[in-house]
């Protein structure tokens, strides 16, 4: 197997341990499947308006009705249609994950690049901040946010960005340390460009491909965290349907109304699995270590 990551000559004696079957034969297929599923999810989010029922319409006569002809995936304890709620929940999950990754990713990459570029005290401060972020029981923090301000769409995004920025910062820092010694950075500095300008203009664009890989994997995490927040009642407030909230509603009915929690959880698993596979495939195809050599 010809591995573009290892320098010539080394490859023969010491193959880099990347799963070759993922990087090679199956990569395009996995990518196509992953993108198709994501496309379906986005379509579901956009077309949720065509759902058969109003997702918040209470119909006590349909209470705990099992999946069947009238309610495709059954009805919950207030008689709301699970299928319609599932479609609307797609909107919340995808929107929250996308925005949280965008904010957390940008802030994390910027701070990380700054830490790697400046070094010294700035570096130490930002890295200790990532330590505290990674070591803190953040789910608890999130439940606090909800308790202080009452849960809202905005706060959920804020909390998830806060949880997810640290890995982006660490990634950006590591990559920046490598980039720092390169000539074009020295040249920009010699021309008198400011630190922030150099980081924004010359460092960050080089981190794009590794950021994409991380964003995909962190997107999976964001959806899981959103679900967990909603599960604890600290997510997007009811009656807005969210997947985690639906699972929580089915928690006490695991035995008598299994469909209430089952389908939203299945949806989460499929989307998260897709994002994880996408991230792994992207990493194998455009591994950041490849870019360093250029």
């Amino acid at each position: 197997m010809n591995d573009p990551m290892s320098p010539p000559g080394v490859a023969a004696t010491n193959p880099v341990p990347v799963a070759p079957h993922v990087a090679g034969r199956h990569a395009p297929l996995a990518l196509i499947i992953a993108l198709t599923i994501l496309g379906i999810a986005v379509a579901a989010a956009l077309l949720a308006g065509f759902a058969p029922y109003d997702p918040t319409a209470v119909d006590l006569s349909a209470r705990l009705q099992p999946p069947g002809a009238t309610h495709l995936l059954g009805a919950d304890l207030l008689g709301r249609d699970v299928w319609s709620r599932l479609l609307y929940g797609t909107r919340i999950s995808l929107a929250v994950a996308a925005l949280a990754i965008l904010i957390g990713g940008l802030v994390g990459m910027l701070l990380g690049a700054l830490a790697g570029y400046k070094g010294g005290r700035v570096d130490a401060l930002i890295m200790r901040l990532t330590d505290v972020t990674l070591g803190f029981p953040l789910l608890v923090l999130a439940i606090f946010f909800a308790a202080i301000y009452g849960p809202s769409f905005k706060d959920v995004i804020l909390v998830i960005s806060l949880i997810l920025w640290a890995p982006f910062a660490r990634l950006a820092r590591g990559e920046t340390l490598v980039l720092k010694g390169r000539e074009f950075i020295t040249a920009a500095r010699a021309e008198g460009a400011s630190d922030l300008f150099i980081v924004r203009r010359h460092v960050l664009p080089h981190l794009l491909s590794s950021a994409m890989v991380l964003a995909s994997l962190q997107g999976a995490a964001a959806i899981l965290i959103e679900a967990a927040l909603s599960f604890f009642g600290a997510g997007v407030p009811p009656p807005t349907p969210s997947w985690g909230g639906m699972i929580n509603a089915g928690r006490e009915y695991a035995i008598t109304g299994w469909w209430i929690a089952f389908f939203p959880g299945l949806a989460i698993t499929i989307i998260v699995l897709t994002l994880n596979i996408l991230g792994d495939t992207l990493r194998d195809t455009l591994d950041p270590r490849m870019r360093r050599g250029r």
Binding site: N14, P17, G135, L224, F232, W258, F262
Partner: protein, 308 residues
């Protein structure tokens, strides 16, 4: 060595103090616990009296200083809601959470080590593909959802296992299964063992061991695995603290497990400051201690790692 440990301890202490200030401020930002402890018809004077009794009318920095002095002596105060010393609550609950986490870790190792090793030694083979797939699926399943599904199947449909609480061996099966399969416990073990083994299997010392004619079993388990384990140890060290501090919270809640999860959850909702502070600070302390232990384990497992 001593200087290294000293420096790491000092850094850990700073992180711990920062985190304790953060949590101290946060719990107080959620509102006044006196309002929840007293009936809704309580007068302003009664609320003020209770706040004075709890010391909540003092400036924030004074409250923090008092808290810090007591905490150093192992006194985390009394639960506002349950009227029990926090330390006593922790003594009751922590072992239950640790049992759950420990058993899940044990099973993750029992399943993950052989799978990861086989995946590396027969790279690209069936076990490799299956276990990598298993790892990816496992880390994509929400733990609390799997917990509910397991209850629906094994407690509801099949009536084989209890749905809740810690009574006897059978009650451990479902929560341990949910914690082992989901998240990164099993999937991380498989991935780290696999990549660690792949990295060392081609190194000279493994070749020498093979050339000496040692049986393959000895080469793998005695020579290769020891070095391949370093990344796994780091990962598990951090992940187990995360597991007790967050992931298992939801699973414990589903099973009404008498661990730290439901204790913390109820305490947050009731603004039970002393309980929340103590639990969070213990989590952070565990995280700090774990990171120091991991650094030291590095030295034991790999003598070429130098003290920085």
């Amino acid at each position: 060595m001593i200087a290294f440990i000293g420096r790491r301890l000092l850094q850990g202490l700073i992180v711990l103090i920062g985190a304790s200030m953060l949590i101290f401020g946060l719990v107080r930002a959620t509102g006044n616990p006196a309002a929840l402890l007293l009936p809704p018809y309580a007068t302003q004077e009664q609320v003020a009296a209770l706040m004075h009794q709890l010391g909540l009318d003092q400036p924030l920095y004074t409250q923090y200083w008092i808290f810090l002095q007591r905490a150093v002596h192992g006194n985390f105060g009394t639960s506002l809601q349950l009227q029990t010393p926090v330390l006593q609550l922790l003594e009751q609950r922590l072992p239950n959470s640790l049992k759950l986490a420990g058993l899940s870790l044990l099973f993750a190792l029992l399943i993950g080590l052989p799978l990861g090793i086989t995946a590396a030694t027969r790279q690209g083979g069936f076990v490799d593909r299956a276990s990598t797939g298993l790892a990816t699926i496992g880390q994509s399943i929400p733990s609390f959802w799997l917990a509910i599904v397991l209850v629906a199947i094994f407690a509801g449909k099949l009536r084989l296992l209890p749905a809740a609480e810690a009574n006897g061996v059978s009650s451990y099966v479902l929560p341990v299964a949910a914690l082992t399969i989901t998240g990164f416990l099993l999937s991380g073990t498989i991935r780290f063992v696999r990549s660690g083994m792949l990295e060392v299997l081609n190194l000279d010392y493994v070749k020498v061991a093979r050339a000496k004619g040692l049986p393959e079993r000895v080469v793998i388990w005695r020579h290769a695995l020891r070095n391949a384990l370093i990344p796994l140890v780091t990962f598990l060290g951090f992940y187990v603290t995360l597991l007790v501090g967050g992931v298992s919270l939801a699973v414990e809640l589903v099973f009404a497990w008498p661990g730290l999860g439901p204790l913390l959850y109820d305490a947050v909702l009731a603004r039970d400051f002393p309980v929340v502070q103590a639990v969070v600070i213990i989590y952070v302390a565990a995280f700090v201690v774990m990171s120091i232990i991991v650094d030291l384990l590095y030295l034991v497992l790999d003598p070429t790692v130098a003290y920085r």
